[in-house]
Amino acid sequence: MATLPIVNEALILPSLPAYSSQEVIVHLAEPLKANQYVAPSYPQAVIEREREFPTGLPTEIPVALPHTEARHCYAAGIAVATLDQPVTFRQMGAPDSLIDVEMVFMLAISDPKAQVEWLKRLIDFFQGKGNLSALKRFSNSAQMAQFLRTGLGV
């Protein structure tokens, strides 16, 4: 299906050293830009959106899903970082709550309606028992990409 993005290992950064949510966003945006998934305006737009609508989620292993409007995105893609040192994101729906996030899934959404299906698969993957902890144990991006492909069915 054309609307399901291929999990691209070039967008996966295991054990990313970072001290803030903004730093993670900027790092993860680099391969997205280099591989033509997003426009140069993307990282700043994500940072601003995160400020207004935070995306931290208190899942089994806390995650964040930074993203922004489709006009900054050329193609559907998912950039992933695992963090050895958690960074603080604010919680989706409860911006006064802080979450120590250990994995970040940054989304390039170029067609929100068409891409709901894979976003839903991603949420199902988060909710699957043991999935996030298994993903976090991998130390190389090829293994992580393969695990994600299987988990998302793409």
């Binding site: 729906g93 959404i109 709901v116 909710q127």
Partner: protein
Amino acid sequence: MAIKNIIVACGSGVATSNIAAEKLKDLLRDRNIRAEVRAVDIKSLEMEARHADLLVTITPYATRDQELGIKVLSGIPLLTGVGVDQLMEQIVELNK
């Protein structure tokens, strides 16, 4: 009161409310609750609420300073999986 129309709102409408709405549809089907579920933009919330029985919201901005006149529940469990059963129990209860 039968719950017939449910609206799901998030802050910016990029994707989150659509995902939560899809999850909610599946969960309602499992419980044999026949309700229409729609993801709506926060900007049209007041208007949409007139035709809805329940608002499930991903953002607190949705309820701030607004008298929508309908029941409001948090939709965060739809995204995290934590607290889904409690959320669905509340909806079942409202549907009685």
